[in-house]
Structures are given as structure tokens and as C-alpha cells.
Amino acid sequence: MSNELLLSLLVIIPLVSGLVSQFFASKWLTLLISATGVMITAAFGAVAIHRTITQGTIFGLSDWLFLDPLSAFHLAVLLMVFGLSSLFSIRYFGEELEHSYLTLSQIRTFSGLWTPAMAAMILVLISNNLGIMWVGMEATTLLTSFLICVHMTRESLEAMWKYLLICSVGIAFAFLGTLLLRLAAKDLPLDPNQALLWTNLMANTKSLAPALIKAAFIFALVGYGTKAGLAPMHTWLPDAHSKAPSPVSAIFSGFMLNAALYCIMRFVPIVEATTGNTGWSLRLLTGFGLFSILLASTFILHQHDLKRLLAYCSVEHIGIITLGFGIGGAGTYAALFHTLNHSLSKTLSFFAAGRLGQVYGTYKMDRMAGSVKISPIWGLGIFASLLALIGVVPFSVFMSEFQILKAAVDGERVGVVILFLLGISTVFVGILRHALSIAWGKPGEYVDSASINWLDRLLVAAPLIVLLVLGLWMPQPLHSLMRQAAAVIHNTHDIGDAP
């Protein structure tokens, strides 16, 4: 199969499966088709990633589509998160179907938007053209906004409105950023059709106008940063995450934020090369990262709602990732590693929160006590994932945080080290307190224990095992993929300074 076809299929299959799912009257079938679409895409995606690893960057559609190590790495995370979330959506909505809470139209809304949203995110990753990347990102916002409202309540409407408005504003900035980038390359002797291609821009950084590039980066940073949930643009995030159905929250936190961050990372090497590798953009990233960590940590301390807590935790972790990118050097590698770790653990925690929420009928943490008794599997899931999120050994989150810290210490960034540690320690204390009572507190009287099947076990075990293994052992292919991805951001072929 040619690379062209392969890359196109990655977008087409999900779109088609979203469309197909609309034509069936069976609720289960609709859900299953959507999940099948995701799985097929995942298979093709795996092939594409494999090709990137073995053959290097692959291109398609006159270079408009490509898959370089950076996007391949993100694609791998995406596929993992979507694959798991789709399985979980069967379980999650299946539970509601059994109690007939869901109508066919709601299921159709979900299926019709779920895989197209995936397609949009894949488009973001595989498009070499920064304009198309923007289109994909905006499409993501639009497609996912109605996913928040699968259960239409006052609060979910409010959350959706905030999400839509804030992210649209942000995305508009990102659009301007993209245009400014294009303007900076305006007089380059390039075919206009090829002028917004990232690879072309990278090849011509010497002749770009620094002032415009800087402005472009600021707009892109604020714009995509809004979508990524960087503080202080993160405000939509707790609302949207807490009101969306859990599978949707899982992809929000597990991948959508990273996709936006990925867009920023596409800008970074251009900016750095143009401004003479002074670390200007990296300093901005460091600042946003630290601010996100600290601000999120203050909100984590007094949260009462589990999903909001997890949402703020996402802000914190996106902050950590951004900080890692901002530190640069080995920090970039660590940030990529953290992306993977965070996505896995956050996905699991949203799964668990969702299922437990169904059992308890609330997300208020003081009423969700004793989950291990109520549902051993999911109770364990939420507890383990919360531990993983706060960086407890031997989960791999510890490793990536350690590496980021190491990069900061090696770079003699005293302030960064102190603030970073302050932030994650606060989060540790704040989350741990809740984790203990959620796991082992005294459950309320009217809570039935939940039913459990093999899918539940799989959904808890799979991410946990991966997190555990990565915490103690780094597989060579992943290692080299992340190194190459880091090299893409550093704009070096020499990847010697990464671990």
C-alpha cells in the first residue's frame, strides 16, 4: 500500500465509519460500528507508525500529508487513547443502554461525532500543511462540542457553550498565527501551494522575518494553548471535562490537549531557527508550564468533584509537559515520555471515574467513598491511576517527571526546579487525600455494588500494565521514536544530547 493511500485512509476510515453508523436502528450496532472504525484505523495507523520508524518520515498527497517521528509518536498515543476509549464507550454507554437511559438519537450523535473527531485529530497530526493542521484543530473543537452534550442538561449546555466560545476564540488566534507565519514566508520563491508546508518552512528559516515569526508564535501559543488547557486559558477545561460523558473526557484529557500542544511544538523549531536559537520561545513555554502547574495545584487542593479534580490535574500535567518542552534538551524527550504516561493514566482515571460515577450517581468525592468495596476493579483503577498521576513509583509518570526535573537541574534553572517541585508536591498532597477516601472510605448506604465483566478488567489492567512496565523498563523502539521526535523539535539530526 502506498504511503499516500495509507495516510489518507487514516482520515477516511473514521469519517466513513461515523457516517455508516448513522444508518442503523440498533443502538448496540451503532456503538459497535463506531468502535470497529476506530480499531480498523488503529491497525492502519500502526502500519504507518511502523513505516515511519523503519523508513523515516513518510509523505503523501504532494507532501501535504506526512508522518514524521514527532507526529508518529503522537499518533501512537492517539490510537492508544482512542482504542481504549472506544472499548470503554461500549461499556459505559452499554451500561446506560441496559437501563434505557439513552435514546437512539443520542447514540447516533455520539457515534456520528466520535470517529470524525478522531479523524480530525489524525488530520492535525498527519498534515504537513500548517493551514490544514489548523483546520483539523478547529474541526476537533466543533465535532467534540456536541459530544459534551450527549446527555443534555443545563450544566452540560453551559459547559459546551463555554468550551465552544473559548476554544473558538483561541482557535481564531491560532489562525492568525498561522497566517502570520505564512506572511513571514510571503516573498519566498515557493509554490504558493507549498508555502505553508512545515517542511518547507523549516527548510527556509533563514529567510523568514523574525518579528512576524515571533508574533505568529505568540498568537499560536495563546491560541493553541487555549485548546491545550494552558493556564490562564484553561478555564473551559474543568467545565467541559466534568460535564462530558467519561469516554469523551478521556479523549479530551488523554489526547485532545496533547494535539493542541503538538501544534505549538510544530511552531517551536521554526521560531527557534529564525530567532537564532536563543531559546525565546522555550522561555515562554517554561513560563506557561510553571504557571499552569501552580495554578492547577491551588485548585486541586479544594476540589470536591472528582472529574473537575481530574481536569485540573490535566492542566497540571499539560503544564509539566510544556515545562519539559520549555526546558529543552533532555527535557523534550522527557516531555514526550510524559505525554504518553499522562495520557494513559488520565484515560484510565476518567474511565474509572465514569464507571464509579454511574454506580454512585454522583461525582462528589465525599459521596464516592469506599469504591474498592463497591467495585474492586474500578476502585483499584481509580486509586492506582491517581497514584500514577501524582508520580508514585513504580509508575512511569515518576520517571518522566524525574527526567524533566533532571533536565531542569542540569540546566541550573533554580527557580524552575523550586516552583516545579512546589507545584507537584502540592498536587501530591491534594490528590492523595481524596484518593484514600475514594478507595477505602466508608461507602454510603444506598450504593449497590457494580457488575463487572472481562472488558472492565481489560480496561483497567491494560493501561496499568503499560504504565508499570514503562516505569521500570524502556522498550528500545519507543525510546528511539521519542528520541527522533525530540530531534524534530530540536531541529537537529544529531540527537546526541537526548538520553
Partner: protein, 211 residues
């Protein structure tokens, strides 16, 4: 001719800042959309091919007719014609608008566009539109006004896009337009839904989710 159109856009922004009526907001945005459509077609006259023409015309139709029509339709449904007590009154809005204009002009001097074939008002005009849109979103309470603010922002970005790039990839531009279309569509649908759920569209009261 360019400068004239850009000044028109800026003046319309000022008008938008000063008005409190939703219908007036929408119709002035429509005018702005039409101007931008003309702007797009005019600025690309030298390279006019079929796809560029389609994009230009599409932008004119969408921004000048379709979006305002959507919004006006929604306004009818939700039966609200006036802003209830915006956060900032007309005078204040105008003052802030002037500050924003000064900032935009200053930023324009810091952001020279390569080449000599573009108007020096283009960047300030764009930024001013962006700021105006932002300000509308921040200072108005009705959800529709915020949608209008979003449109104004997009108009600004559109202006610099077509004003400087005589030839943009068809896919990118059409993708952008499609996204815009969807965004406005979803916003209007959502506003209708919200109106059904809350019996108002005053976003000030949409503040149950906090902390």
C-alpha cells in the same frame, strides 16, 4: 482602494462597539462581511482563477448573507433584541476601542510585512478587528452578541489572509470557510438549545460551573 476598504472595516468596528442592539450588531457584521468579500475578490483580481473566485464569492455570501441570516433567525426565536446591561456601556466601549486602535497601530509598526505591495493599514486593521471581536465577547452578556464577536474576530483574520496572499491553497481556504460555517451553525443551534433550556441566553447567568 485597499486602504479605503480597510478604513471602512475599522469604522464598522467602531460602530459595533457603540451599539447595544443585537439586530444592529448582526446587520453591521453583515456589511463588514460584504466588504470583506469585495476585498477578497478585488485583492486577487490579478490572479483570478476559478477556485480563487469560488472562495471569494463563497466568503462574500457566507459572511455577508448566510451567517447574519442564521443569527437573525436565532434572534427571532429567542425573542431578545436588546443587550441587557452590557458590562461596559457605549461610551466606555468606544474609549477602550480607541485604546485598542492605538495599540493595534503601534503593533502594526512592529510587524512589517515583507515586500511593498501591501497596505500598511492591513495589520493594524486586522488586530483592531480581533480586539473588537474580543471586546464584544467580553463586554456583552447575550450569547448572540458573543457569536457576533467571534465573527468579527474571524473577519479580521480573513482580511489579513486574503489581503496579503494573492493565492492561497484552495483546500486550506475552503477548509477554513467550512469550519467557520460549522462554527456559526453550531453556535446558533446551541443558542437555541440554551434558550429552550434556560428561557434566556444571558450568559451572565451561565455560571453554575465554577471553582
Amino acid at each position: 482602494m485597499f486602504d479605503f476598504l480597510i478604513v471602512l472595516v475599522i469604522l464598522i468596528n467602531v460602530r459595533l462597539l457603540a451599539t447595544g442592539r443585537i439586530e444592529s450588531l448582526i446587520s453591521w457584521t453583515a456589511v463588514q462581511g460584504v466588504i470583506l468579500g469585495v476585498f477578497a475578490l478585488y485583492s486577487r483580481q490579478a490572479h483570478l482563477s476559478v477556485d480563487v473566485f469560488i472562495i471569494g464569492l463563497g466568503a462574500l455570501l457566507l459572511k455577508g448573507l448566510v451567517f447574519p441570516a442564521f443569527l437573525l433567525h436565532t434572534t427571532k426565536i429567542v425573542v431578545t433584541s436588546r443587550e441587557t446591561e452590557p458590562y461596559v456601556g457605549p461610551i466606555g466601549s468606544l474609549l477602550i476601542g480607541m485604546v485598542a486602535l492605538v495599540v493595534s497601530l503601534w503593533l502594526g509598526t512592529r510587524l512589517p510585512i515583507p515586500g511593498t505591495d501591501t497596505s500598511h493599514l492591513l495589520v493594524p486593521g486586522t488586530l483592531f478587528s480581533i480586539f473588537t471581536g474580543q471586546f464584544l465577547i467580553i463586554s456583552r452578556k447575550m450569547a448572540i452578541s458573543q457569536a457576533v464577536g467571534f465573527l468579527v474576530m474571524e473577519n479580521g483574520a480573513f482580511m489579513i489572509g486574503v489581503g496579503t496572499l494573492y493565492y492561497a491553497p484552495f483546500f486550506v481556504e475552503s477548509g477554513v470557510l467550512l469550519d467557520m460555517f460549522l462554527a456559526v451553525l453550531i453556535m446558533t443551534v446551541l443558542i437555541t438549545d440554551m434558550n429552550r433550556a434556560f428561557h434566556h441566553i444571558d450568559t451572565h447567568e451561565l455560571s453554575r460551573l465554577k471553582g
